[in-house]
C-alpha cells in the first residue's frame, strides 16, 4: 500500500463561506500501480493531487501515506516525506531557470543531505535514465518542452521515490513529446515505480492501468462496459483523428461548447460533454478498452 484516502473532504474558504471542492473521496493505491485521475477543468484534480502529494491537508477524512497519518504530521515531517517518498512532475515543468539540468535534478538530493559527489553521480544517472545524458549542462531555456519535462522527471525519480505524482504532465507538450513522456512513465512503472497521473486527456489516461474519474469533487472508478457509448467515443477519437483532436483542442478549449457546431472531428470539449453525459446517466458497467487493445489497433499512444 502506497497510500489510502478515506472519506476525504476539502473545503476552500471563499470569503466566509466554505466551498466544498472534494467530497467524500476514497482511494487506495497499491505498490506498482499506474493510476490516472481524469476530470474536466475545475473538478478538483489538482486539489486532490496536492493532498496526495502532502502539500496540503484535507479538511476532513483520513489520509495515510506509506503508513504515516498525514493529518498529524508536522511541517518538517511532511517536508521529508515529500523529499523522500514522492516525485513531482508538473504541467509547467517548474525547473529553476538559471540552473543547469544537472543542478535542477540534484535539488531533491541537496535537501536530503546527500554529499556533493553522490549528488552529481545520482543526478547524472537519473538524466541518463530519461535519455538526456548529452544535455546535462544545458539550462532550461536551451531545452525543448519535452526535454524540460524529462529533466523534471529525472528530478522526480532521482531520490527513488515510492510514488511518482504527475499533474497534467503532457498538458504543455506537443503530441510527440507527450508520447515520449508517456513511454517513460510506462517504463518507470514497469520498473516498479507507482505512478499517479492527473490528466484531462483520455488518450493520455489510457496509458494507465487504472483510470478514475473526478467530477464536481466526487471520485468515480472508471469501470465501463464494452460496446457502450463511452467506448464508441473512445474508439472514435483513438482512431486516426487522435492527433487532430489534440490540435483542435488547443484552439477550441477556451470557447464555450455551445458556440461550436457539433460536427466534424470531436474536440476536447465534446469529449468532456460526452463523459459528463455518461456519468450523469450513470450507465452501469461501461468499460474502456484497455491499453493492449489500443495498441493492437495500431494506435500510437
Amino acid at each position: 500500500m502506497v497510500f489510502e484516502l478515506k472519506n476525504i473532504y476539502k473545503d476552500y474558504l471563499q470569503g466566509k463561506e466554505a466551498v466544498p471542492v472534494l467530497k467524500n473521496i476514497s482511494l487506495a493505491v497499491e505498490d506498482g500501480e499506474y493510476v490516472a485521475i481524469m476530470g474536466p477543468s475545475g473538478s478538483g484534480k489538482s486539489t486532490l493531487m496536492n493532498i496526495i502529494g502532502c502539500l496540503d491537508k484535507q479538511t476532513k477524512g483520513s489520509f495515510v501515506f506509506d503508513g504515516a497519518d498525514i493529518m498529524s504530521c508536522s511541517d518538517k515531517q511532511l517536508s521529508s516525506i515529500r523529499n523522500d517518498k514522492i516525485g513531482f512532475v508538473f504541467q509547467n515543468f517548474n525547473l529553476l531557470p538559471r540552473q543547469t539540468a544537472l543542478d535542477n535534478v540534484e535539488l531533491p538530493l541537496l535537501y536530503a543531505g546527500v554529499s556533493k559527489r553522490q549528488r552529481r553521480e545520482k543526478a547524472k544517472e537519473a538524466l541518463r535514465r530519461v535519455g538526456l545524458e548529452d544535455r546535462m549542462n544545458f539550462k532550461p531555456t536551451q531545452l525543448s518542452g519535452g526535454q524540460k519535462q524529462r529533466v523534471a522527471i529525472a528530478r522526480a525519480i532521482v531520490n527513488k521515490p515510492k510514488l511518482l505524482l504527475a499533474d497534467e504532465p503532457t498538458g504543455a507538450l506537443d503530441t510527440r513529446s507527450g508520447e515520449q513522456v508517456m513511454e517513460l512513465f510506462k517504463e518507470l512503472n514497469d520498473d516498479g515505480v507507482t505512478v499517479v497521473m492527473i490528466t484531462h486527456e483520455p488518450e493520455i489516461a489510457r496509458c494507465a492501468k487504472r483510470v478514475m474519474y473526478i467530477r464536481d469533487g466526487e471520485l468515480h472508478s472508471g469501470e465501463f462496459a464494452a460496446g457502450s457509448r463511452a467506448n464508441a467515443v473512445a474508439k472514435e477519437e483513438t482512431a486516426p483523428a487522435a492527433e487532430k483532436v489534440q490540435e483542435e483542442a488547443a484552439v477550441t478549449k477556451d470557447i464555450p461548447a455551445e458556440e461550436k457546431p457539433r460536427t466534424g472531428p470531436k474536440t476536447m470539449t465534446d469529449i468532456h460533454r460526452d463523459l459528463d453525459d455518461i456519468l450523469n446517466r450513470k450507465l452501469p458497467e461501461l468499460k474502456f478498452s484497455d491499453g493492449s487493445d489500443i495498441e493492437r489497433k495500431g494506435d500510437k499512444i
Binding site: N50, G53, L55, D56, D75, K76, S79, S80, R82, N83, D84, F88, F90, N94, L96, R98, L107, P108, L110, Y111, A112, R155
Partner: protein, 424 residues
C-alpha cells in the same frame, strides 16, 4: 551554506542594476562612516604626535604644589627635599619602562639674561646633567658638548638651541660669544638641535604655548652652575624617556615614586596645613586622550547621522527582498514541494540579504577610503585609515542585511507550497 552563498551571488549578478541600487544606501552609509572615522583617527594621531612626539616618549616628573608645577622664581626653596642622589637616578634608570633619565632645574623667562647688554626676553634656562641631551633627543649641531671637566670645574659655559641662535645672533657664529646670566659671563660652546625624527620640544600643553609660540629659545648650563646664577639648593626635576609610548604612564609613575622618597616629612606652614609638595608625572598620554576625546565627541555626532543612511539602506534592502520573495514565489513553492525545509528557505534568503549588504559594505569601505584620501587632499585634514573600523563596517553591514532580511526571509519560509506553486 556555500551553496547558498553561490546562489546569492548568482541572484545578485543576474540583477546587477537592481542589486547596485539596493546596495547604494549601505555603500553611502559605510563610506561616510569610514571617512568620518578616518578623519577622527587622523586628528587623534596628529594630537598624539604633537603632544608626545613620535619616537620621543619622554615624561616629565616635576615637583608640584597641588596641581601646579612648583616655580622657584618667587617661592622659597623648601628645606625638606633632598638632592637626588646618583643612586636614586640609577634606580630610575633600572625601571623596566624607562630607557634613560635626566635631572635638571629650569626657570622660564628669567630677567637676568643679557647678551651685549641687551636683555634676552622669554628664553628658558636649564641646568642640566650629562644625560639631558641624549634623553630628549638633542644633538650638538655646532661646537662641543659639556665635558666632565666642565662639570668638575664649575665651568661657566653654555649651550644654546638653534631657536635662540637664530633669534639673538642673527646669522653670526655664536660659538665663543658670551652671555650674562645673573651678571656672570657664560661662554657659548655649542648649539643643540633636535635630532631629526624627534618632534619639536613639546612636553606639555603649556609648553605648546609658552615655548612654541612665545619662546625665543633655550639656554643650557651645567647643573653645577645653577647655584652661581640662581639658588644652589633648588630641587631638581626629572625627565624620563619611556621605552615606548604606551609605557609612558607607568614610567612616569614609578619614577615619581622613587623621587618622592627624597621628600622628607611634609612641611607645615603657619596654619599647620602641609603644603602638598610632591613629584608628579605629567601624563601626556592622558592629556592627549582628553584632547582626542574632545575632537572625537564632535565627530561621533556625524557617525550617528551616517548611521541613518545605513538604516535607510537597510529598509531599501528589506523592500527589495520582499519584492524578490514575491517574484520567486514559484521557486520557493517548488523547493518546498521537493522537500526543502523552512529553515533552508530562511537561510537562503538571509544569506542573500547578508551577501548583498556585505558586498555593499565592502564597496562602501573602498569608497570611504577613497573619500578620506580626497578629504585629506582638499581640506588638508590628516586622515588615518583604521583597520578595526573597516572590519566593524563590513560586519555591521552584514548584520544590517540579516536584520532587514529577516522579515522577507520569514515570509518566504512560511509560504504555503500550494499557493506558491499556483502563483502566476
Amino acid at each position: 551554506m556555500l551553496e547558498n552563498i553561490r546562489l546569492s551571488f548568482q541572484g545578485i549578478f543576474s540583477h546587477k542594476i537592481r542589486s547596485f541600487l539596493t546596495m547604494l544606501g549601505i555603500i553611502i552609509g559605510i563610506a561616510a562612516i569610514i571617512a568620518i572615522v578616518s578623519t577622527i583617527e587622523g586628528t587623534n594621531e596628529q594630537i598624539k604626535n604633537n603632544l608626545i612626539g613620535s619616537g620621543n616618549n619622554t615624561v616629565k616628573i616635576t615637583l608640584s604644589n597641588g596641581d601646579y608645577e612648583a616655580d622657584f622664581t618667587w617661592e622659597t626653596v623648601p628645606d625638606n627635599i633632598r638632592v637626588i642622589s646618583e643612586e636614586s637616578k640609577k634606580r630610575i634608570e633600572d625601571i623596566k619602562e624607562v630607557d634613560s633619565c635626566t635631572l635638571y632645574r629650569t626657570r622660564s623667562n628669567p630677567d637676568n639674561l643679557f647678551y651685549l647688554n641687551r636683555k634676552i626676553d622669554s628664553a628658558v634656562i636649564y641646568g642640566i646633567d650629562e644625560d639631558y641631551f641624549d634623553t630628549l633627543g638633542y644633538d650638538i649641531a655646532e661646537g662641543i658638548n659639556f665635558t666632565d671637566r666642565h662639570y668638575k670645574n664649575f665651568a661657566k659655559v653654555a649651550i644654546i638651541d638653534s631657536t635662540l641662535e637664530r633669534g639673538i645672533f642673527e646669522g653670526e657664529n655664536p660659538i665663543g660669544k658670551q652671555i650674562d646670566i645673573s651678571g656672570e659671563p657664560f661662554t657659548i660652546i655649542g648649539v643643540a638641535a633636535k635630532r631629526s625624527g624627534f618632534e619639536p620640544v613639546i612636553n606639555s600643553v603649556d609648553d605648546y604655548y609658552t615655548y612654541n609660540q612665545t619662546s625665543s629659545g633655550l639656554i643650557f648650563i651645567p647643573t653645577v652652575d645653577w647655584g652661581i646664577c640662581f639658588r644652589y639648593d633648588e630641587p631638581q626635576n626629572c625627565i624620563a624617556r619611556a621605552v615606548d609610548t604606551d609605557s609612558m604612564t607607568n614610567a612616569g609613575k614609578k619614577t615619581a615614586d622613587i623621587l618622592n622618597e627624597n621628600i622628607l616629612t611634609p612641611e607645615k606652614d603657619t596654619e599647620g596645613v602641609s603644603s602638598a609638595l610632591e613629584y608628579k608625572s605629567e601624563s601626556l598620554l592622558e592629556q592627549a586622550k582628553a584632547l582626542q576625546d574632545l575632537s572625537s565627541s564632535t565627530n561621533s555626532m556625524l557617525i550617528w547621522i551616517a548611521s541613518i543612511s545605513l538604516l535607510v539602506g537597510g529598509i531599501g534592502v528589506m523592500n527589495i527582498m520582499l519584492v524578490s520573495v514575491t517574484e520567486r514565489t514559484r521557486e520557493i513553492g517548488l523547493k518546498k514541494a521537493l522537500g526543502a525545509r523552512k529553515k533552508r528557505i530562511l537561510a537562503q534568503f538571509l544569506t542573500e540579504a547578508a551577501v548583498l549588504t556585505s558586498i555593499g559594505g565592502i564597496i562602501g569601505v573602498v569608497s570611504g577610503i577613497g573619500l578620506s584620501k580626497v578629504i585629506a587632499n582638499i581640506a588638508e585634514v590628516p586622515v588615518a585609515i583604521s583597520t578595526p573600523a573597516i572590519a566593524v563596517s563590513v560586519v555591521f553591514s552584514m548584520v544590517v542585511g540579516i536584520v532587514f532580511g529577516l522579515i522577507p526571509s520569514i515570509k518566504a519560509a512560511n509560504l504555503n507550497p500550494i499557493d506558491a506553486l499556483r502563483y502566476e
